[in-house]
Symmetry: D2
Subunit: 301 residues, 4 copies
Amino acid sequence: MDLGMVGLGRMGANMAQRLVRGGHRAVGYDPGAQARERAAQAGVDAVDSLQALVAALSAPRAVWLMVPAGQAVDDTLAQLLPLLAPGDTVIDGGNSNYKDSVRRAEQLAQAGLHYLDCGTSGGVWGLSEGYSLMIGGDADAAERLRPLLETLAPTPDRGWGRVGPNGAGHYTKMIHNGIEYGLMQAYAEGFAIMQRKAEFGLDLHQVAQIWRHGSVVRSWLLDLSADALGRNPTLEGIAPYVADSGEGRWTVAEAIDLDVAAPVITASLLERLRSREKDSYADKLLAAMRNEFGGHAVKAG
Amino acid sequence: MDLGMVGLGRMGANMAQRLVRGGHRAVGYDPGAQARERAAQAGVDAVDSLQALVAALSAPRAVWLMVPAGQAVDDTLAQLLPLLAPGDTVIDGGNSNYKDSVRRAEQLAQAGLHYLDCGTSGGVWGLSEGYSLMIGGDADAAERLRPLLETLAPTPDRGWGRVGPNGAGHYTKMIHNGIEYGLMQAYAEGFAIMQRKAEFGLDLHQVAQIWRHGSVVRSWLLDLSADALGRNPTLEGIAPYVADSGEGRWTVAEAIDLDVAAPVITASLLERLRSREKDSYADKLLAAMRNEFGGHAVKAG
Amino acid sequence: MDLGMVGLGRMGANMAQRLVRGGHRAVGYDPGAQARERAAQAGVDAVDSLQALVAALSAPRAVWLMVPAGQAVDDTLAQLLPLLAPGDTVIDGGNSNYKDSVRRAEQLAQAGLHYLDCGTSGGVWGLSEGYSLMIGGDADAAERLRPLLETLAPTPDRGWGRVGPNGAGHYTKMIHNGIEYGLMQAYAEGFAIMQRKAEFGLDLHQVAQIWRHGSVVRSWLLDLSADALGRNPTLEGIAPYVADSGEGRWTVAEAIDLDVAAPVITASLLERLRSREKDSYADKLLAAMRNEFGGHAVKAG
Amino acid sequence: MDLGMVGLGRMGANMAQRLVRGGHRAVGYDPGAQARERAAQAGVDAVDSLQALVAALSAPRAVWLMVPAGQAVDDTLAQLLPLLAPGDTVIDGGNSNYKDSVRRAEQLAQAGLHYLDCGTSGGVWGLSEGYSLMIGGDADAAERLRPLLETLAPTPDRGWGRVGPNGAGHYTKMIHNGIEYGLMQAYAEGFAIMQRKAEFGLDLHQVAQIWRHGSVVRSWLLDLSADALGRNPTLEGIAPYVADSGEGRWTVAEAIDLDVAAPVITASLLERLRSREKDSYADKLLAAMRNEFGGHAVKAG
């Protein structure tokens, strides 16, 4: 089956390549020449404009967007819309806010286009291990993409599904990432406690390896942690600075909107914010207050 | 190789059975006749006293305790000690506090006995899938048990190891369980948010199944959650009441002792306490305060 | 000085009454006849329409809104705008979202009207003790209200101020309420721990009274808590159910938007959500998971 | 009335001085010559040994310990005990762990001595404003100290009381400090959010001053914060490093022991630990994990 892939960054290029390996034809576009070249070497039909991409696909087309969430999606859609024809399907495989996806689906429906919001998990390992795909939107539109989805997923019958109407795909992915924050933080804290417990001289890589087999905490994130700890057990050279890309914030906001207390996902997000605060005003004020009432000396900073 | 198993509850009986299946001889003791019978049916040489258990093993003996953490371990050791001979090894495979294990190891060493504290993970699935085993204590003593450990673990070379001196095994298991609390809570929160989001009509079992393959959050706990959600997606009939068995508390205390902030593991524990508070005095006082300053009506309770 | 008060609920009526006591003239409007009557008895010139209210004031007018935050403010403004004249000033003294206040100020400026967003704290005690007032908007417009503000505040020179441009008043009040959540929760937790510690038989009212004088934790909220505990030390008849009115949520969202970790204010909000969850799906799933991996019995629910 | 004060640090010297000002006689001992001299200048009968202190008091004696919690209390008691006579009373006014106080009271009772554990709040301001005193122990023994307590407290009838049997005084003070952590953190977070909100250019000292009068969040800690912000609004030169002196940890441990969820007090403690972690292993591991699964670059550190 044919697919147009818009955005040939790490995720888009890998997905296109996995499709090509699976016997599909992937036409790919990216504004960057280097990204196009790399994709071409991987068997993707790389073209240098959206016009060329659309022209290279026969109707009804399937165009997959793998561009940064936010304005880039709207901009791309604005350029694509005049080029597409009723019956075509656009899939947003990025980490868009689900509310944007609901809005965009309505916008495209007015032009007779199908829109699918597809939460995509798997990261850089998806190329070899397949992607977990959560799709929101019209069931028939999703069904027509079955050959592609069966190739992108780990196995034809595993790891993908249409989970609900438009928005449901990115909603599910948002929650997925919220959970991911919590899982990561739980492991990070556990290893940090063991690292601090000098008296036992624990080999954290060994511990991770033991846990990977038979333990209640075995998981893919543990597998990855074991790899990281194997290569660099002291985590030398890595700054204690943790970025976040939005879904955690959205999950926290969503939980509060729904009156669901989600203390662990919330704490995971706050910890990431905290990791980036090098000069906390709150902590300074705490030190100042202790000095005020108790005469406790403040540390000069 | 021969092993004496003291305690033929769910964990002890399963471990003895796995050893028997692996070609070892397991002599088992439990004060309960029913437990002994069940173990006997599984091929364990069930005896009705510690004396009989010790007598049935040839020196140097290996006696594995699988009894409830706390006083039961001390009581069992008090009975066992006079029966054992220098060179014998006692393994505590339960969830003992690591500080107790350090103390007990010193106590047994004075009698010329080896003591190994072995954190054991795997739950009821360990019988079929093997156990993850984290061992603290003398390396030679652990090495002598290798044939048993290779059978108990998922495969001979995976999922077990001697991680450090006495205490290190139970310490590692304590941290394991702290992490487990955090992981569980992260999933629980994520599914709870999706459950509350009625408009998407998400099928939580389907979502769990999709995530099990290719996603960043795939894990054994997710596999189990998928099973639970498959059988009972609304979790009908299950009270929102979460017990805890101590290791989470110890992990929180340990983190604080070491000056390590572990907000997610801590929040997971507090959530369990909270699940059991049906009539929170704190919440009543909050309602009363709101009434005091703002005239906000309290709900009658 | 003359003031028009729109909304004669608990807060609006009390503020109007305090102004009257202070020698000002307060014209008041409320859609409810009972509210108007009560205000009239307190010396307020109660009128039965916005038209009448505006007509009763001489230009340049000062009209204070004390209506529920949200749509009610926009609706009231829509009705007021055609009645007012350039140079008049509208003050929103409610708990509006600061972003709405910025928007409304721009809207009124186009009609030549001044808009002040005034965060108002003090609750039902403001009538006797005065209100704490944080004002956002044009400094000259605020200055013209000085006589009113000096009467509303605890003393002419204490407890009020123009803190910044439009939005700053409600922003400051939002943060005030976020802090309030944290303070309340801290006290509530402390008293809850003491209440649970049965062995000391602590008299919580006595403890609160002792702390009110000379201690580091003395505060007005503690004074109120002492009152509540004096009347009802067991908090009998009060449901453990804590409402929230929005500012806490906004504070949490704002903190996250600004990348400031605010764990205590956040935890206070989550605790309120939690107090209203009688049948937590998350907790049920935790119980189900424990059953899955460990065979731990679930409580029937 | 006569009192012996052991420990003439900031707290002990001030308390002795307040007693002297109130017409009592205070005999004071401190191992440091400078501390003794300062106390002498304030009217305290400073002596250079515990023997001299005991000798200077007529039986039944009242000896108040104001020494660092922990070993110093036990050491002092060990020296004092042989010097005292049945019927004498020892008061521990420091921040001792309440379990130690229960133990010490039993120990002294065997020698016919009374022991009172007295939680003392008020900090460096107690000299001028009086101390809040929470006393645990025998009611008659406490009653005999009434003249001293009425002088130490803010007014004779305010701010002090016997709250329960031995241990209850320090227990109440422990909870007081746990609450204090939560209150401080709530203010600190609120001010930190406002400080970050550059667009409003808020004057945090002004905001604090406004809130001090009439607002729901008015408190003594706010008064102190206003002072600190008045002198140093940017908190220049103060390191974001917050010490803790034990009671917060004990409160958290106690809450967990009692199965009371205390998320805000707990979060306040964790934030203090966090303020001292300059190189969090947990955060490094999070960054490493993000790199593993998503190829996200780590910051060099």
